[in-house]
Symmetry: C2
Subunit: 188 residues, 2 copies
């Protein structure tokens, strides 16, 4: 199941603004959202995180309140939008693993989606942050799918990101300025 | 507030499969989802409905259950994706109004989003179904924004859709085959 980032998964929690602020800037999702807001505010790109899909079970429509619902598996990646007229699509994940990125973090139908977008000539990639090293990499769909199809291991080694991916610089305003990397590519 | 289509808003309802099936094919959202599934299954386009954004308040992560949450206002349109390598984006609404489409159905920030996508050269439009006539129209963002900027009325008359929009044929398999209309356009 897919849980929103940055919140504990092992007990009942009351989410409030205090908790939201506490986590601000502390994780990849927040950093990307801030970057996307910068892109939007400056008319650079219009890229948004999709809401987590939820199965509604019991709803009080009079009060606009959901009383029972469950997290559902997303069928696509989390982020998509438009950049310079082109379709852009990516998934972003953090890992504490020091050796590499375990593929179990990306569902089968998400891999299928990445394959579809790649074949359709969309700009498609994954962003992975290795929290132990505070390093964030962008890996294009081509190289991601090449690993899955040809190397077929359950963990993409950190070295694979270093060799085939692009390190995203840590900036103050555009915290995860992934479009800077896209701009440098000749074929997108 | 934005409620999912096809369910009563005035009392507590238990949603179950029976109700889902009962409404199947009965409303625009279902028809578009079926059409999108056809496009996806046949590698024609990859366009999805975004989940309704929800503000989580109380969550039992042990059981994966949401115990209290509220519907939030979406900041973008409901549908987006990729078609022939291009970014595509639209909003879809039903109305029982016989004279026209009340603009109150589309939030200000959604109009702003449509404007952004139009300026970014995305394929952008709205789909409106007049349920009283069982007619479904596609209106390109250019003509939609032109109405808002220059005619400035609170209801887009049905005649405006007839004159400036494109009627979507009622089909058996691709129920709302909007890409057939996009294909006929020279400038997209």
């Amino acid at each position: 199941m897919n849980y929103p980032n940055g919140i504990k998964k092992n007990k009942t929690v009351i989410l409030n603004k205090k908790i939201d602020y506490k986590n601000r800037g502390m994780n990849l999702e927040n950093d990307i959202n801030e970057t996307n807001n910068y892109y939007i505010d400056n008319d650079i790109a219009f890229i948004y995180k999709k809401p987590t899909p939820i199965k509604l079970v019991k709803v009080d429509y009079k009060k606009g309140r959901i009383d029972e619902a469950y997290f559902e598996m997303p069928s696509t990646t989390d982020y998509n939008g438009i950049y310079k007229g082109k379709y852009i699509d990516f998934e972003a994940k953090e890992t504490t693993n020091k050796k590499g990125f375990p593929l179990i973090n990306i569902h089968k139908h998400q891999i299928k989606h990445i394959r579809n977008i790649y074949k359709s000539n969309g700009i498609c990639f994954i962003i992975v942050r290795f929290t132990s090293f505070n390093e964030t990499y962008l890996l294009m769909a081509r190289d991601f799918l090449d690993f899955i199809d040809n190397i077929k291991k359950s963990v993409i080694p950190r070295e694979y990101f270093i060799t085939n991916g692009f390190k995203i610089k840590d900036k103050f305003i555009k915290k995860v300025d992934y479009l800077e990397i896209i701009d440098k590519m000749e074929d997108v």
